[in-house]
């Protein structure tokens, strides 16, 4: 029995988001969407987190930060790229200080499209990530 599915704790990091997806992530915690129904807690601490939610594309300065946060998370862990910028760089892909989507740095498990991604999409994304977490947990046990 894996409990990852029942209590996915998220860590949210804003790489270079325009705040759109960012506040939608926060909005998904609020009464209307209430992701805590699925046991989601926005921890703010990589050590406690299971899912790393990244909004926005990455730039030179945020790459080491993201890498570090990912490293500090305990296994099993999943990465969810929220919003078009995080998945591919979006409209900013051509900017000089944008390296591209999160997949340039970390193995992304779930892409959540949208500009800005809606709370419903984010909920879907988290639930999808839960399944991935469970698989990873099984893989860990098997090892």
């Amino acid at each position: 029995m894996s409990f990852n599915k029942k209590s996915p704790w998220i860590l949210h990091y804003d790489a270079t988001s325009c705040n759109g997806c960012d506040i939608e992530v926060l909005a998904s915690l609020t009464p209307l969407y209430d992701v805590e129904r699925f046991g989601v807690v926005n921890t703010g601490d990589p050590r406690h987190a299971d899912i790393l939610l990244i909004t926005g594309s990455v730039n030179g300065q945020s790459i080491p930060v993201i890498k570090q946060l990912y490293e500090q998370m305990p296994d099993p862990k999943a990465v969810v790229a929220v919003g078009i910028c995080a998945t591919s760089g979006g409209i900013f892909a051509d900017c000089y200080n944008v390296e591209g989507g999160v997949d340039k740095v970390l193995p992304v498990d779930v892409y959540v499209p949208g500009c800005a991604a809606r709370p419903q999409s984010i909920i879907d994304g988290i639930l999808k990530a839960c399944d991935i977490l469970e698989e990873k947990q099984k893989a860990l046990k098997g090892r």
């Binding site: 990852n4 209590s7 704790w9 129904r37 296994d75 947990q137």
Partner: protein
């Protein structure tokens, strides 16, 4: 033999009750906030998940303190629930808390240390009232033993109303509820990240959570002592009061800000000073 069974039951059922209370807490909080909220068993899911997860360490020793802390908290629960000495309960509880915050220091990570520092401050803030609670209970019953205190004719609350109020005030610290959740809150947005528990993951974090469950029950146990006497009715009343107090703490949690340390310290000391002293002085005036 009976004692062994009793000890075993306490060790098993205390955290279960604590976890369940926490679950209800989260559910009720969510409802107060207009949300659906997680399932009641959510705290258990969380802990079970944490037990399955990887445990990362930052240095070889920091996790250790959490385990010792848990052991002492269990010991506290044992002393308390088997009707032991109330001062000893407080001392061992303090010891448990000290070990917990040493864990924060040991990880030598900025936010853990800040959290430990605040935790220490909180302990300093609530300790006088704990002390005076024990003093008051001893005053009215002439014994430190909980089993004797709860077997008196009259519940202690009759003589110690002010101390009880002061104690409920302090309880907010112990339960880590706003306005006094300075060192480690259950809410996400805290300037200290996660305070002492910042560096703990997986199993160690699960133990911290379990420790908190024990602590919740221990804290409510004190409330119970105030109301219990040698009739069944008072015991039922005591349980009901515990639940009401817990509910009150939840509502308080949801309708106050997190105060700053200066305020927390001065408020706690003021309240314990005024209420505790007044109660004791009145008692001694009537030469009880």
């Amino acid at each position: 033999m009976m004692l062994a069974v009793k000890i075993l039951l306490i060790i098993i059922f205390t955290p279960l009750a604590g976890g369940l209370l926490t679950g209800f807490d989260r559910k009720i909080s969510a409802r107060l906030q207009g949300r659906q909220g997680p399932p009641v068993l959510q705290p258990f899911y969380d802990v079970l998940k944490l037990l399955q997860k990887e445990t990362i360490e930052v240095n070889p020793s920091h996790r250790f303190y959490v385990y010792v802390s848990l052991m002492f908290i269990i010991l506290t629960a044992l002393i308390m629930l088997t009707g032991g000495d109330i001062l000893l309960t407080i001392f061992v509880l303090t010891l448990g808390s000290i070990f917990f915050l040493l864990g924060g220091y040991a990880s030598q990570s900025p936010y853990s240390v800040l959290g430990a520092e605040r935790e220490l401050l909180q302990m300093m803030a609530y300790e006088p009232m704990m002390f005076m609670t024990a003093a008051g209970l001893y005053y009215v019953s002439n014994t430190f033993f909980i089993r004797d205190i709860v077997n008196r004719k009259m519940p202690a609350i009759i003589y110690l109303p002010a101390i009880f109020v002061g104690f409920v005030f302090i309880l907010t610290f112990k339960l880590r509820k706003s306005p006094f959740d300075l060192s480690l809150g259950h809410h996400a947005h805290q300037e200290l990240v996660q305070g002492i528990s910042t560096e703990y993951s997986g199993r160690s974090l699960a133990f911290i959570e379990i420790t908190h469950w024990y602590e919740t029950i221990i804290a409510l146990g004190f409330v119970y002592i105030f109301f219990a006497a040698d009739s069944i009715g008072t015991h039922i009343l005591a349980v009901i009061v515990c639940l009401i107090v817990y509910l009150f703490e939840i509502i308080l949690d949801n309708s106050t800000v997190r105060v700053k340390w200066q305020k927390a310290l001065s408020l706690a000391w003021l309240v314990s000073g005024v209420l505790g002293t007044a109660n004791l002085v009145v008692l001694s005036f009537f030469n009880f």
